[in-house]
């Protein structure tokens, strides 16, 4: 389990510092190259986004000095940057990777962008061979965990911005927004933003009305909408399904009697007022009318807050899920660690058996086929009996996890298997063939890889 990660993120470093760590996409391959050729690093991968820079690595043996790499690559001096970085090793690193991919480490927990960014970084690193065996297994597992978190918890189902909550509510009222019309009262920035969101979800016709008619015309132009003079506001609003209001008027401009009139004109088709003006443009009494729904800034904010609360609760479930997955991954890696030892133990004893039979063949004289079979069975039986306990111990050690490495070492020492394990790994890397951990774990003790 030689995984290491070092990096900066929105929690550990302000944006000025993150900027200095950020690696533009064009330079990512080169940086990854530098990472994998850094002494002690076997595999490596770098994720760089506006919220984080993460440097993942697997060490050749035991340890690798990622701080050294950071100093070398960025040209930082010792003591000038450490306060901003975080570092995780081994199991903690695995957990960190899982959490990042599952968007549990994000500024907005549950946002989906990060997974895509990690996948891109992975593709880059993989294309240049910087990710091949165990780190590859770790990343593919991380993507599966991220997917599982997404489907098994509701971490990403709710919207957490005012504009997206407005869209969500509009969809709760109208089903689909396609073909719906939106009326902007006031030509402010917030209006424009909300309108953009609604259009992105299918809203068709846009009307804009503003005290200064020219600004209405300008904004309407942006959406290919229709500008309406402010004087005819009350006569035209009933045409729209969704009204976004953000004027600077000191009093409510839409009152209950207006609402009743609109409903009559619309034959009671529902209307959705989004009031983002402070002081409010829409009288709260309008909400009492059957068919009119009014949300002001605070109401939207409240929905956002409750969604954030939901996400936090779901995040707890997700954390438990990640923890579980970390343990599973650890077990699989250990299983994979044990397999080469079992194989070389079998090979070793088989060699001894063959050698002994050959050595004694002269003294045994010619054997009948029955005797031949008996000798075979006898020697095989002895070898298998001897092997039985070490192999079951190895397998159970891999399952239990904690002492797997110790047991592997003891068995290797007892049977003098030192070189075998190293060879195994060396071959895999020389051939430049990734040995997926899952595949290695499937190899049963009896077959030769």
């Amino acid at each position: 389990m030689n995984f290491f990660v070092i990096g900066v993120n929105h929690k550990t470093a302000p944006v000025e510092v993150r900027e200095r760590f950020a690696i533009p996409e064009s330079r990512l391959p080169e940086a990854t190259q530098a990472l994998t050729s850094y002494p002690g690093v076997e595999e490596g991968m770098i994720v760089s986004t506006c919220n984080r820079v993460e440097i993942f690595a697997r060490a050749k043996n035991g340890d690798c000095d990622l701080h050294g790499f950071v100093r070398q690559y960025y040209g930082f001096r010792q003591g000038e940057y450490e306060q901003y970085t975080f570092e995780h090793k081994h199991l903690d690193a695995v957990k960190h990777v899982f959490r990042v991919a599952a968007s549990l480490d994000s500024m907005v927990v549950g946002e989906s962008q990060i997974l895509g960014q990690v996948k891109e970084a992975y593709a880059t690193a993989r294309a240049m061979g910087a990710v091949q065996s165990q780190l590859d297994a770790l990343m593919s597992r991380a993507f599966q965990v991220a997917k599982k978190v997404r489907t098994d918890t509701q971490i990403a189902t709710s919207s957490v911005s005012v504009a997206s909550v407005a869209v969500e509510l509009a969809e709760k009222i109208f089903g689909t927004l396609s073909g719906k019309s939106v009326y902007l009262v006031g030509a402010g920035k917030m209006c424009e933003l909300a309108a953009r969101h609604l259009i992105a979800h299918g809203a068709k016709k846009i009307y804009v009305s503003n005290r200064t008619y020219e600004r209405a015309v300008a904004l309407a132009k942006k959406f290919q909408g229709e500008a309406i003079p402010f004087e005819s506001l009350y006569d035209s609003v009933a045409k729209a399904d969704i009204i976004i209001s953000s004027t600077g008027a000191p009093h409510a401009i839409f009152r209950k009697e207006h609402g009743e009139k609109f409903l009559a004109q619309r034959r009671n088709k529902p209307m959705f007022f989004i009031d983002i003006a402070v002081p409010r443009d829409v009288d709260a009494a309008l909400n009492d009318l059957d068919g009119i729904f009014v949300y002001d800034v605070d109401d939207l904010q409240q929905v956002v807050q409750s969604h954030i609360g939901d996400r936090r609760r779901e995040a707890e479930r997700a954390e438990a899920l990640v923890q579980e997955e970390v343990l599973k991954f650890q077990q699989r890696l250990q299983q994979a660690d044990v397999v080469p030892t079992i194989v070389s133990l079998q090979e070793h004893l088989e060699t001894i058996r063959q050698a002994e039979i050959d050595r004694l063949r002269g003294r045994l004289g010619t054997l009948t086929p029955e005797q031949e079979i008996a000798v075979e069975a006898l020697t095989r039986g002895i070898v298998n009996k001897i092997m039985h306990t070490p192999i079951t111990t190895l397998k159970s050690a891999a399952r239990e996890g904690e002492q797997a490495t110790t047991v592997v070492e003891i068995v290797r020492k007892l049977f003098n298997l030192r070189s075998a394990h190293a060879n195994q790994r060396g071959q895999a890397c020389d051939a430049e063939q990734p040995v997926p951990v899952a595949a290695a774990a499937k190899i049963n003790g009896s077959s030769n890889p």
Partner: protein, 272 residues
Amino acid sequence: MPQLWLRLATVLYGLGLLQSLYQLVRRRAGEDLSRFAIPAVGLGMVFHLVSVVERALLFGYGDLLTIRYAGSGLALLIVIIFMALFARFKTASPGVFVFPLVFLLTFASAVGQQSDMAPVFRSKGWIATHVALLLIGYAALFLSFVASLLYIVQSRSLKSKQPATWLSRMPALQVIDDLGYKALLAGFPFMTIGLIAGSVVAQEQFGPTYFFDPKVLLSLLMWGVYVVLIYTRWSSGWRGRKAAYMATFAFVAAVFAWAANYVSPLHRFVAP
């Protein structure tokens, strides 16, 4: 044998009913409902269908037209429509109202005494048309009633500005609205022609006196409310509370019209 299938279906619907009661008490999300109740009710529907078809094959379709099995037929229709809606809109929320009714109707036919006699009428074809059309009409009316209740629930939840989690899976307001209105429109011709078919039979059988039978009067009342419901909806787009009151009224009238089978002197499906 058909009775066994029917009882099996009743038990399965009962599971659905338990689930919807649980959901009402706990106010939990609809996903719980679909995970457990939908397969149960779906399986129940299959047994139910088998039971109805087998009964028709064994005893002739006349047997299905008795009061007793008409209830089961109506339940089957409602379940089929519910399942179709579930497949289309992926929402199990009408189940809260649908499952109890379906269970009661099926339960009544599954445990009732075998006392009903097959109708002895001169014109069997008219009777079959009458019953079948009215069953569809009733199912549509019930659906529209459920939709108007859901509309109120959803609209309240939106107005309360604290969209409770168990409502977040309900279909959008406008979808519910369309559904209710379309059900209403679709059911109307069935209801109308069904009543006409009934009148034709009754006229032939009993002469003009049939008109003062309580069942006939209640049915006419129900039909009247139905017309008003469609008219208000069509002319002024009544939705929400007002529409729900109307729909409730129509539904209650329908329940009485249905129940009148037990008080009506001539609408007992037995020879006079």
